[in-house]
């Protein structure tokens, strides 16, 4: 089991926020993320820790690994970390627009596009997962 330092947690918060909502994280959310990791005692195995570091170094891959883990190991520590960041972002008024329902002209097309993207990410992630 590894313990992570504040700098590492900040790095995670920045990367996960960019991944989740394509925005820069604010200071309050970084602080909340850091506290939540400690309060909820999220620990990673050595293997997971290596995987997380790889994801942080290659941010484009986060969505793929996240998608693969959602199918293969939804309770993994990495998924829990991203989930915590998601909950924190949703509780911040600066990011409310990414979570509150918005009127949309072509929701079906939007859903189809998102579905294809999600499937692609998951499949790619499943292929990559054994190597990372």
């Amino acid at each position: 089991m590894q313990t992570v330092d504040e700098a590492q947690l900040t790095r995670e918060a920045i990367a996960f926020t960019r991944y989740l909502i394509s925005e820069d994280v604010d200071a309050q959310s970084i602080e909340l993320y850091s506290k939540a990791q400690q309060k909820l005692n999220i620990t990673l195995s050595e293997n997971e820790d290596q995987r997380l570091n790889f994801m942080l170094n290659h941010a484009f891959i986060i969505g793929m690994i996240d998608g693969a883990l959602a199918l293969q190991s939804p309770q993994s520590g990495i998924r829990k970390k991203i989930y915590i960041m998601l909950a924190i972002l949703e509780s911040d008024p600066n990011y409310a627009k990414h979570f509150l329902p918005q009127e949309q002209r072509s929701p079906f097309l939007q859903l189809i596009g998102l579905g294809i993207k999600a499937a692609f990410n998951t499949l790619t992630g499943l292929i990559l997962l054994p190597w990372i």
Binding site: Y19, L20, I21, Q28, L32, K35, A36, K39, L40, G63, M64, D66, G67, A70, L71, P74, Q75, R79, K80, I82, Y83, I84, L86, A87, I88, E90, S91, D92, P93, A96, H98, F99, L100, P101, Q102, E103, Q104, R105, S106, P107, F108, Q110, L111, L114, G115, K117, A118, N121, T122, G125
Partner: protein
């Protein structure tokens, strides 16, 4: 408070039944002492602004405090289990239950409460009058219960509408306020029901607005619903909570309230009852004496007290609980549109399935719009990466509703409670629960749920996922001390007295011999009123 004196009446618990029993006793002029643990929310209530959900979401920089919780208890990382739906502001409802009400089970996952107002603090407010057939099956007197329903309705305030669901909701109740207004999602479903109702009624499905213990007009100093949609987080007085009644009773000279008192057991002496309780602050066992004791601890709590007090070696009690599932469903025709006001978090519509058309063994479903729960709570259930999952759920949410389906329950030997010794527990024991359904019951549940899904498809709603939170999740428990005309141990006489005792009564659902799916709360309150009257006349 002079605890050495003998009290007239002791009521155990401040939940829905305790509040009603105590009020009835006080109205008849006797003195009442209420024993309660009385856990309360000291963290969140004052933090939540009296504003609409959307306004808070867009503006309040402190909102994380009550969405996520001080200890991040609002972020549920595990599987969806009983109580997972409680927001941090409502978590006090289950505070200290693991420590003071230990329970083990592989099959049954109930929610209990030691809070001021009990499980009533998390009540969904659905009110249902049991039919004659259901009352008979439950062992309750139809004529007296109908009168008692009226008394309770007048006390708590119920809103509803005369529609197809009325025989299953408010029945013949008089004095109900106009129904709450429903949002555009639910209006759409209801309009489709009206267009197809003849074929649906032929199959036994009836839809309408639920009767809710929710004010749409001011009553007794309480506010009407504000449609702020913050109902999962805070109360503005429109929703009935037993704490409203108990707080009013505290102003009366004949009423005393003792908190931090967990009642453990009782024993009979010739003309009185000695009640043993744990002072949860001092961690000391104490006793108190009364003429009559009325247990309103909820079925599981009452089972513990009665089993501890019993000298009989047979320590297995029956158990009733409504099996419960919920369906996340989508109305494709609502995609891309926002769900317009008026909005509230309680049930918008009720759908009953009366296959035999005799108001017996009826399936009961409540339909909720899922607007005021945070998106992250739903995304967890989606097997996709969180980025696309968020975008998909954001698009779907305005068209999503949640239907909770309850099934009726009959007694059987495979559902029971036992008290087992446990030296590590503060009470020296823990409750063991087993709940298993036979093949026939499981088939009926499966068939009923299939019919529900098919009916909702006709109403333009398609199931995304069926979630099974496990047995016990309905939070409707009953039947551990079935009513019996014979004087048999571990039963209640028809007037609610514990058999083989003179002055111990049970006013919660422990005596019910059948549990309709409609929702038990109004009926246990009516029964509590009757039991209190019976205790006075005994």
């Amino acid at each position: 408070m002079d605890l050495a004196q003998e009290h007239d009446y002791i009521v155990v618990g401040s939940g829905c039944t305790g509040a009603m029993a105590a009020q009835t006793l006080l109205e008849k002029g006797v003195k009442v002492l209420m024993l309660d643990v009385g856990e309360n929310d000291s963290k969140y209530n004052n933090l939540i602004p009296q504003k609409s959900f959307n306004s808070i979401r867009e503006n309040d920089t402190e909102q994380y405090k009550y969405w996520l919780g001080e200890d991040y208890e609002g972020i549920s990382l595990g599987k969806t289990v009983t109580g997972a739906q409680l927001t941090p502001a409502r978590k006090y409802v289950i505070k200290n239950t693991e420590k003071l009400l230990p329970l083990i089970s592989e099959t049954f996952f109930p929610m209990e409460s030691l809070s001021y107002g009990g499980l009533g603090n998390a009540w969904g407010l659905n009110c249902a009058v049991f039919s004659k057939n259901e009352l008979k099956a439950a062992g309750l007197p139809a004529d007296k219960m109908n009168e008692a329903y009226g008394v309770i309705c007048n006390r708590i305030g119920i809103s509803g509408e005369k529609d197809d669901a009325t025989p299953y909701t408010s029945g013949e109740l008089k004095g109900i306020q106009k129904a709450v207004e429903i949002d555009s999602n639910s209006k759409n479903i209801y309009e489709k029901y009206k267009q197809t109702k003849s074929s649906l009624n032929a199959k036994g499905f009836y839809m309408g607005k639920p009767a809710l213990a929710l004010l749409t007009e001011k009553k007794d100093g309480r506010n009407a619903i504000d449609y702020n949609e913050m109902d999962f987080y805070a109360d503005n007085g429109a929703a009935y909570r037993p704490s409203i009644t108990v707080t009013q009773l505290k102003k009366q000279p004949n009423f005393q309230y003792l908190s931090n008192a967990l009642v453990l057991s009782y024993s009979n002496s010739s003309h009185s009852v000695i009640v043993s309780y744990l002072d949860t602050i001092a961690n000391e066992k104490k006793t108190i004496r009364c003429k009559k004791l009325i247990l309103c601890s909820g079925t599981l709590g009452t089972a513990r007290i009665v089993l501890r007090s019993s000298t009989n070696e047979t320590k297995r009690l029956p158990l009733l609980c409504n099996p419960y599932k919920y369906f996340a469903q989508i109305q494709p025709s609502r995609l891309g549109k926002t769900n317009n006001a008026p909005r509230m978090a309680f049930a918008q519509l009720a759908l009953f399935y009366d296959a035999q058309k005799n108001n017996m063994d009826v399936g009961a479903a409540s339909i909720y719009s899922y607007n005021s729960l945070m998106l992250f709570r739903t995304i967890k259930e989606v097997p996709l990466n969180f980025r696309e999952g968020r975008k998909i759920m954001q698009t779907l949410l305005p068209a999503v509703s949640v239907m909770g389906v309850h099934h009726p329950d009959n007694g059987s030997g495979s559902k029971y409670l036992e008290l087992v010794k446990d030296n590590n527990s503060i009470t020296g024991d823990k409750l063991k629960a087993e709940y298993a359904l036979n093949e026939n019951a499981l088939k009926q549940i499966y068939k009923r749920e299939k019919e529900y899904a098919a009916t909702m498809r006709k109403l333009g709603c398609y199931m995304l996922k069926k979630i099974d939170p496990g047995y016990g999740s309905s939070i409707h428990y009953a039947g551990c001390l079935p009513f019996n005309k014979e004087e048999k141990e571990h039963h209640l006489s028809p007037n609610g007295r514990v058999c083989n005792t003179k002055n111990v009564f049970v006013a919660d659902g422990s005596g019910f011999t059948y549990l309709p799916a409609k929702g038990i709360t109004l009926s246990i309150m009516a029964n509590a009123h009757l039991t209190a009257l019976n205790a006075l006349n005994n």
